[in-house]
């Protein structure tokens, strides 16, 4: 299920070896739909209003980045970690604690270019340590341990006032201003988010075919065999947690800049599970899945209320809708909506072939 990229696009036999390797390495560059999506995303500020730009698209990209870190662990490493949002939230808290915020008694007031790397480093450390714990056991236990870590962090932020300011959280977190640009202004922030999302997306895709990523997929398929090839499977798993934690940390930094505040609600167990839902609904075998999942999730969250009321239903039943949709996806597709879409297309192609091939008798 892993390297579908390599089989997805059958290269032209006349292409040179170098060209074929390039296509194999970067399947998106061959796909006209990918170019179209990229173009739309880049000119989005011309089309969309500030509300759509931030509430829909930037939010989608941020949730997509966090879910991408889960996709990396689950899809390539076979480790379903429910603590990715916790790591993101931790990074967000660290930005607020080290940087500037309205809670002057807590925030240390570092400039953003110091506070942000610090937050990312600490979040990566947090994820690595959590991963080192989670790899002590295997398989389905990972979910339980990472969920326990996530929940423990949530209750801790609620209880602790010295660093996390209890259940009120930290408010009016400062966002970067430099080169005369307010990077939290709608359009600038959209581009920052888009740029980081693109980097994360391509990084995950690139690493999946690099020795580290291949080895991780080997560990996923058969860790004992990997040890018999000279790899240390647990070291690879922990390194994967570290890489994923860095990505999740980036998402967390963007999230705290987006909302300008962070509180235990941002790292609740429900929010952790939302990330899993996003990744699973989008599809956890390819890096694009989490972004598709996040888009669906954000659309539902934003418009379910209006739509439900329009159909004469109770508008507060958004979570019911999410839960039922998630169940439906888990029941019918092991690869999220991408899997559904591909199955539909294959069906379409094969039925088209069948009608077209009729003349062969």
């Amino acid at each position: 299920m892993s390297l579908l990229q390599s089989t997805q696009f059958r290269p032209d036999p006349s292409a040179t070896t170098a060209r074929r390797a390039f296509i194999r390495a970067w399947p998106d560059f061959q796909n006209p739909a990918a170019w179209l999506v990229a173009l739309i995303l880049i000119i989005m500020p011309l089309i969309a209003s500030g509300f759509f730009l931030i509430e829909i698209f930037a939010t989608t990209l941020i949730l997509g980045i966090i879910a991408l870190s889960l996709m990396f662990l689950a899809g390539y490493g076979g480790m379903v970690s429910l603590m990715q949002l916790t790591i993101a939230g931790f990074a967000g808290y660290m930005v607020a604690v080290f940087g500037v915020s309205g809670n002057a008694n807590i925030s240390l007031g570092w400039p953003w270019w110091l506070a942000t790397p610090m937050a990312l480093a600490l979040a990566t450390l947090f994820g690595t340590l959590g991963g080192a714990l989670a790899v002590r056991t295997e398989g389905i236990y990972t979910i339980m341990i990472t969920l326990a870590i996530g929940a423990a962090f949530y209750y801790f932020t609620n209880q602790n006032w010295a660093i996390f300011n209890g259940h009120t959280g930290i408010n009016t977190v400062a966002t970067p201003h430099f080169w005369g640009v307010d990077w939290r202004a709608d359009i600038a922030f959209y581009y920052v988010t888009l740029g980081i999302a693109a980097i994360c997306y391509f990084a995950v895709q690139y690493v999946s075919r690099a020795p580290f990523g291949l080895a991780l997929q080997g560990v996923r398929d058969n860790s004992r065999r990997m040890a018999a090839l000279g790899f240390n499977p647990n070291a690879h798993r922990i390194a994967a947690y570290a890489f994923a934690a860095f990505i999740a940390g980036l998402g967390g930094v963007l999230q705290v800049w987006n909302y300008r505040q962070i509180s235990p609600g941002s790292v609740s167990v429900g929010a952790c599970i939302d990330i899993l839902i996003i990744a699973v609904v989008g599809g956890i075998t390819r890096p694009i899945g989490p972004f598709i999942g996040a888009f669906i999730f954000v659309l539902l969250r934003t418009f379910a209320l209006d739509v439900l009321i329009k159909f004469g239903l109770d508008g507060n039943r958004f979570r019911l809708l999410i839960g039922l949709g998630f169940l439906a996806i888990v029941f019918w597709s092991s690869d999220g909506v991408i899997g559904l879409w591909e199955r539909w297309r294959r069906h379409h192609v094969s039925s088209a072939k069948r009608t077209g091939g009729g003349r062969h008798g």
Binding site: L3, S6, R209, P211, Q217, D221, R224, R225, G230, F231
Partner: protein, 260 residues
């Protein structure tokens, strides 16, 4: 014992693989009992015995898949008893599995590339290999050597059984092996594929020794110079193939009615 003499005896023996009193228990069941084997560098040996004789457990102890319950294992003089599997592999030990243990989701080339990468530096590299990467060349050569060049871009799940067995062997040949453990490499192969297998085994460089577990006596006796017979987790007899083959006890136990 005097430490110098001790060290000299280890070096003097010059054994590629030396097992002393290796025992492996599964609960109350002894899968291996007091196994002592010495194999010279470059030596090629068959381990024979009926099912349950402890042959695969022996391999698992040597590679560290299951550590022995007691006893010591030396590899080219170094005590590797406590090493995790990957440390043993990095020292030049290799193995194949009785039931193909490959990566079905990856292509043939990726499988071999992983094997090459596992015994070299850069296991954690985030950089994709370029076209002129030395390991890519090594991968290509190995794929050719086991006659899989035609299917190198196919996913392993799509390969035929015989091809998967060949890929198993390719994985064991990656890097610079010094000693290889083959666990029933001929199982399920067609006569043609068996001939190819024998050809691969006999054409290995002379310094690479191996132990082969093989039920097919024709294959086993053609590619080895010594034989170890196992029975109920113990070494039962050792010697050159001809001697073992004609030994009446062995014939009764294994070559005769004992073998299914």
């Amino acid at each position: 014992m005097d430490s110098v003499a001790h060290r000299l005896s280890a070096v003097g023996a010059g054994a590629a693989l030396e097992l002393r009193g290796v025992t492996r228990l599964f609960g109350a069941l002894a899968a291996l009992t007091d196994v002592t084997i010495t194999v010279r560098p470059g030596e090629r040996r068959a381990v024979l015995g009926s099912n349950g004789a402890g042959k695969t457990t022996l391999f698992n102890c040597i590679t560290g898949d299951f550590p022995p319950s007691s006893g010591t294992i030396r590899f080219f003089g170094e005590d590797i008893t406590q090493f995790p599997p990957y440390e043993r592999i990095r020292r030049g030990l290799r193995r194949t599995y009785q039931i193909s243990a490959l990566f079905p989701g990856l292509t043939v080339q990726d499988n071999v590339y992983l094997a090459c990468r596992g015994v070299s530096r850069g296991r954690f590299s985030f950089l994709r290999p370029g076209q002129n990467d030395a390991l890519m060349h090594a991968t290509e050569n190995l794929v050719q050597a086991v006659h899989l060049a035609a299917v190198k871009d196919q996913r392993v799940a799509e390969l035929a059984h015989g091809q998967q067995r060949q890929l198993e062997i390719a994985l064991a040949l990656a890097g610079a092996p010094r000693f290889i453990l083959f666990d029933e490499p001929a199982a399920g192969l067609s006569p043609t594929e068996r001939r190819e297998l024998i050809e691969i085994l006999t054409s290995l460089p002379a310094h690479i020794g191996y132990i082969i577990i093989e039920h097919d006596m024709d294959v086993a006796l053609r590619v080895v110079e010594s034989v170890t017979m196992m029975h109920n987790g113990r070494i039962f007899k050792e010697g050159p193939p001809r001697e073992i083959e004609s030994d009446p006890e062995v014939q009764e136990l294994y070559l005769g009615g004992g073998h299914e």
